[in-house]
């Protein structure tokens, strides 16, 4: 079929697709990788362990290499934190190296999030005169920018040098507007550029796979907007200016619906939500007098994970299982981090459990 399509399309391809994509190979491999993700029964066991026991436990699992490598530099919570970051970077760059063509392109677009994260970290580091080591500790080289390139940037003296080194990248047009004071503005622009890039890849092609990718991304935007809305409403902000924090292009939560909800008080906002398509997900935890938003945020994250998993069963040979794996991996790492950080801060077990997305 792909051969036929190639003949039909000829050389006038408009999409930025990079040729043949071996979905069968990549999805099978990613599914095998997913089978190594910690099962949910592990978390209650981890809750009963001390930090050293957790280090040992994850040192015997997929994180062995990372723990072994970093154990001579760090220890305790820092060791786990760095091992988790390293593992995430290694896993995601592996996804880039085992995929080709269209899959590689789409995964790369999604991973730009980490490139942007790293550029932000570099700029923030230079802004507050952090040392090279401090900056490198916060870097997660899971995108297309390699660790060695990023560490060479971290070693630069000023932000001007960092930006001039990035002159050949697509981030340069935004970065050159940075004058040392408008950091938050530049960060917002970079984030919006990430989503604009994602939408760019979706719009240009009508293939089924890109549509699935689009749906996946747009659902993520919906949930992100909902969380931002909840936080704004909870702190009593009704300023229409805040609309620029919202990301356009959601799947079921349209921009004009958010505009309508923006001036409402928290209680009105909650009653308005009842007609929202995501109401079923959070109906039993949303109350007008609620104190903490943790329940809602974990519920929305869980919904995203579940829908990604069921989506990946419906379309087994497509981009969705890969995206599902990326989400599950990120979630595993954030759960482990929550447990370890919670234990280090002597938090109550119940509080840690509330934060976990299982």
């Amino acid at each position: 079929m792909q051969l036929l399509q190639k003949f039909k399309l000829g050389k006038s391809k408009k999409s930025p697709s990079k040729g043949h994509a071996n979905y069968a190979y990549t999805t099978a491999r990613v599914r095998a990788m997913k089978s190594k993700i910690l099962p949910k029964e592990t978390y209650p066991r981890l809750m009963n362990m001390s930090i050293d026991e957790i280090t040992r436990f994850i040192g015997e699992s997929e994180y062995k290499e990372d723990i072994d490598e970093l154990a001579r530099i760090h220890d305790g919570v820092d060791l786990i934190e760095h091992a988790l970051n390293r593992n995430l970077a290694v896993t995601f760059t592996k996804l880039l190296s085992i995929s080709e063509g269209d899959v590689n392109f789409l995964v790369g677009e999604k991973l730009k999030k980490y490139d942007i994260w790293n550029i932000k970290t570099l700029l923030r580091g230079k802004y507050c005169n952090a040392s090279t080591e401090e900056i490198l500790e916060a870097i997660v080289a899971a995108g297309r920018l390699s660790y060695s390139f990023l560490s060479s940037l971290a070693a630069k003296g000023t932000y001007e040098e960092v930006i001039s080194e990035l002159a050949n990248t697509e981030y340069y047009p935004i970065l050159k507007g940075y004058d040392g004071t408008n950091l938050s503005d530049i960060e917002n622009q970079l984030d919006k550029m990430y989503y604009a890039g994602l939408f760019g890849t979706i719009r240009e092609s009508k293939s089924k796979d890109r549509k699935l990718f689009a749906e996946f991304i747009r659902m993520g935007i919906d949930l992100k907007n909902l969380v931002t809305l909840f936080r704004l409403k909870k702190s009593g902000i009704a300023d229409p200016e805040m609309m620029n924090l919202m990301i356009d292009g959601g799947l079921r939560l349209k921009h004009r619906d958010i505009e309508k909800m923006m001036p409402l008080s928290f209680a009105d906002f909650v009653s308005e939500l009842e007609s929202n398509p995501y109401w079923d997900v959070m109906a039993d935890v949303v109350r007008p007098d609620m104190v903490s938003l943790i329940d809602i945020e974990t519920r929305l994250k869980k919904h995203r994970l579940k829908s990604a998993a069921s989506f990946s069963h419906v379309y087994p040979i497509s981009i969705v299982p890969i995206m599902d794996y990326m989400l599950s991996k990120q979630n595993e790492i954030s759960n482990l981090r929550i447990i370890v950080r919670g234990k280090a801060a002597n938090l109550d077990d119940d509080i840690i459990k509330e934060q976990l997305v299982i």
């Binding site: 071996n22 069968a24 190979y25 990549t26 999805t27 099978a28 491999r29 599914r31 095998a32 990788m33 089978s35 190594k36 085992i98 040979i317």
Partner: protein, 78 residues
């Protein structure tokens, strides 16, 4: 005087063409089916070597298509 030449196709030749098509087309079909399964099996094996046996079996299952084709072609030729 007008002469008319009649060409009659040899039934044995037609049978041979049919038999050839039966094996050839089913061979292509098996190949197409095995292509994806094979690459998926290799992908899974790269992560977990113990899947070699299962991967091998799944890869050769579409081979039945070409075996049926072969059987049909043998029946035609007889």
């Amino acid at each position: 005087m007008v002469t008319e030449t009649l060409t009659v196709m040899d039934p044995a030749g037609l049978k041979a063409i049919g038999a050839g098509l039966a094996v050839g087309l089913t061979g292509i079909a098996s190949a197409l089916a095995e292509k994806d399964i094979g690459s998926a099996a290799i992908g899974a094996m790269a992560e977990n070597e113990s899947l070699f046996g299962k991967g091998l079996i799944l890869t050769v299952i579409p081979e039945t298509i070409v075996i049926f084709g072969l059987v049909v072609s043998l029946l035609i030729i007889q």
